[in-house]
């Protein structure tokens, strides 16, 4: 297979395009996904190739987009729905949580809703209100949904194709802050990255940094700085939050004896709490220090002038790791 250097946004687009070529039941729908090619250009060129019957500009109505997708998915299509920003998914929560997440279970398998809900998420782009949010914890607490968050172009394409094929409703979170930050080799044609497998983004022996999406890169950066201090940090890119690769997580933390979890969402009842609780319960005797969390504050995501004081950054991660090392 040949390959090209692609950004995450391009890799996402290629995933849809390649899968649509293979599977005629795959549809793309959402606001501005057609002629405009998506406000982040993540659906660029799709309407030209597949037409307006497979790349559907919908009315401005998130509940409607998911409600339509439920109807389409239960009767044989595989919709890939876009929420323009994760901050605008709330109007669709009833359709996602009360219907898409439950259909298979409540009909004991008779109907199901295989669909992907693509959502650019997270901070770092200095936009207006409601454009920077990370709501993964809500989706992870709701039974019946899968949640994937790539941190690089290769995974973005491979995980999105896995998501489309998965048979379940998948929340697919795209780190918009690094949508176009860098390019990496991405194979042409469809391939999959398995769900439920974390990636060791950097090996280390003193402390495990657990992260996903854009925070993976901040952790890699912190790990680099830590190595100068003589601390060997392992960065685990979780990628797939449900199904979750607890084996890799437990293995890493068993090895290092220390864990710092990093996410953008508010700390309280964020997914970091689940990871910390799980690790603390299972590895109590192996922990050399308490599991620390570096997260967004328990506040509204601030507007751009103060945004940098909200998002987890290298400094905060370093402090957390140091306190862990010194415990």
């Amino acid at each position: 297979m040949s390959a090209q250097k692609l950004s995450i946004a391009q890799a996402v687009r290629d995933a849809m395009r390649d899968e649509m070529r293979l599977d005629p039941t795959v549809l793309v729908l959402g606001e501005d996904v057609g002629v405009d090619g998506g406000v982040f250009r993540a659906t660029e060129g799709l309407i030209e190739e597949f037409g307006a019957e497979r790349v559907i500009d919908t009315p401005l109505a998130e509940s409607g987009i998911i409600g339509l997708s439920v109807g389409l998915a239960a009767t044989g299509f595989r919709p890939v729905a876009e929420m323009q920003f994760m901050g605008f998914v709330y109007p669709a929560i009833n359709q996602i949580f009360s219907h898409a997440a439950r259909m298979r279970n409540r009909t004991r398998g008779r109907l199901s809703t295989p669909m992907v809900i693509r959502m650019p998420y997270g901070g770092g782009i200095h936009p207006p209100e409601h454009h920077s949010e990370s709501y993964e914890a809500l989706f992870l607490h709701t039974p019946g949904l899968k949640v994937l968050v790539p941190s690089n172009p290769y995974d973005a394409k491979g995980l999105l194709i896995s998501a489309i094929r998965s048979g379940d409703t998948v929340a697919f979170m795209e780190p918009k802050r690094i949508y176009r930050a860098f390019r990496e080799e991405v194979p042409d044609g469809a391939y999959t990255v398995p769900m439920g497998k974390a990636a060791i983004a950097r090996e280390g022996s003193d402390c495990s940094l657990l992260a996903w999406g854009a925070m993976t890169r901040v952790c890699l950066d912190a790990a680099e700085a830590l190595s100068a201090e003589g601390v060997s940090a392992e960065v685990v890119d979780l990628r797939s939050l449900n199904p979750l690769d607890r084996e890799t997580i437990f293995e890493s933390v068993s090895k290092t004896g220390r864990a710092v979890i990093v996410h953008e969402a508010p700390r309280t009842a964020g997914f970091g709490a689940e990871l910390a609780a799980d690790i603390s319960e299972h590895l109590l005797l192996e922990l050399l220090a308490p599991v620390r969390r570096v997260c967004g504050w328990d506040t509204v995501f601030p507007l751009s002038k103060l945004e940098k004081h909200y998002l987890p950054n290298r400094g905060r991660i370093l402090s957390a790791v140091r306190s862990t090392m010194e415990f």
Binding site: G76, N105, T107, S166, G196, P243, L244
Partner: protein, 357 residues
């Protein structure tokens, strides 16, 4: 043209069968007598099925049940007008349509008795499970209608909801999307005048629900929902329009909930006996029977025989759902995902351990 009219609209109402059982032959030149009998039998059957559920509930053999008493004509007419290939997306008060569309009656009992297997219909039956979050099903109707259109199937999606459900945002988004996409969808409102204790006049300031169609560029019509012939005509026309790519229709079927909202409700707390008796006179079954009798198609003896047959059938349904093997406790994990994540495998084992103790 400084002051001009940019939109003009009217909303029609159809009635064919009057309170004395007389039919307006201009509107319905050929009443299909075969069908009339079929509808009548189905409505009788459904009334017995419904009242049995209420008795079972009182005996602790059924969960909360939403009665259909008085709403049989809407449900029967739509159900009988549908083809096998049409999809039904019910709300929670349409057993009469579901059963006419082929859903095994005992499964509906099982569902409301608290068993998820009751929403696992045979594979060839094109029917969604009931939707309890009010209004959330409207968009599924739009989505299925779009699905049929994209596949170029000559079939329609029929989605039901109550008068109260028209107040939810999902009603709006569903109708609007169906209008834009010209989806193969028939939207049926069972306007039974009440949403639990809230009368229609507190639900909306609109004079009719059918006129809400004007907001979406979609045809809307009001129909006497206790008039099974008018319902049939309107349903057929809307289904035909949907199947042939003519787009969606909104039908407001004006009917009345003669019973309580559910077995957990006591309607006497909030509504007058006088209103109930007004509507009892408009009972859809009574009207149809008057017609059938006047045409010599039905008599007391036939009624007796048929009621006996129906009672046997109802008993069979009870027997069928009550003799289902108890559900496996671990089945609450089944079908949560296409394949069970390891965390759930673990939890499932814990439950099995607990149960086996």
């Amino acid at each position: 043209m400084p002051k001009s009219i940019v939109y003009e609209a009217r909303t029609e109402r159809l009635e064919i069968l009057d309170l004395e059982g007389k039919v307006d032959l201009e509107l319905m030149p050929e009443v299909d007598q075969e069908l009339a009998l079929k509808l009548y039998r189905h409505m009788i059957r459904m009334r017995a099925y419904d009242s049995k559920a209420l008795r079972l509930q009182r005996q602790g053999r059924m969960g909360t049940w939403p009665p259909s008493l008085g709403q049989e004509a809407v449900q029967a007419a739509v159900g009988m007008a549908m083809d096998e290939k049409d999809w039904l997306i019910p709300s929670f008060r349409e057993p009469g349509t579901m059963i006419a569309h082929g859903v095994p009656a005992h499964l509906i009992y099982a569902h409301w008795a608290g068993d998820e297997r009751g929403a696992c219909y045979p594979e060839n039956i094109r029917c969604f499970p009931p939707a309890v979050p009010v209004g959330s099903q409207w968009q599924h109707g739009a989505g299925v209608g779009l699905s049929l259109k994209l596949r170029k199937e000559r079939a329609a999606a029929v989605v039901f909801g109550g008068d109260g459900s028209t107040s939810e945002g999902d009603f709006h988004e569903g109708l609007n999307a169906a209008g834009v996409f010209k989806a193969n969808t028939v939207f049926v409102i069972q306007n039974n005048q009440w949403a639990i204790s809230v009368p229609l006049s507190h639900q909306t300031a609109a004079e009719t629900l059918a006129q809400k169609a004007h907001a979406y560029g979609v045809p809307g019509i009001q129909v006497d929902g206790n008039d099974v012939f008018a319902m049939t005509l309107v349903a057929r026309e809307a289904l035909e329009r949907a199947r042939s790519g003519g787009g969606p229709t909104l039908i407001e079927a004006v009917t009345y909930r003669l019973g309580d909202h559910t077995t957990a409700d006591d309607a006497s707390r909030y509504r007058d006996e006088a209103e109930v008796s007004y509507w009892e006179k408009r009972d859809p079954i009574r009207r149809l029977r008057l017609y059938l009798e006047s045409e010599g198609l039905w008599d007391e003896a036939q009624e007796e025989d048929f009621v006996a047959e129906v009672n046997r059938w109802v008993d069979e349904q009870v027997e069928a759902f009550e003799s289902m093997a108890p559900a496996d406790p671990a089945s609450i994990f089944d079908d949560m995902y296409s394949e069970l994540p390891s965390r759930l495998v673990e939890q499932r084992e814990l439950l099995l351990e607990e149960v086996s103790r």
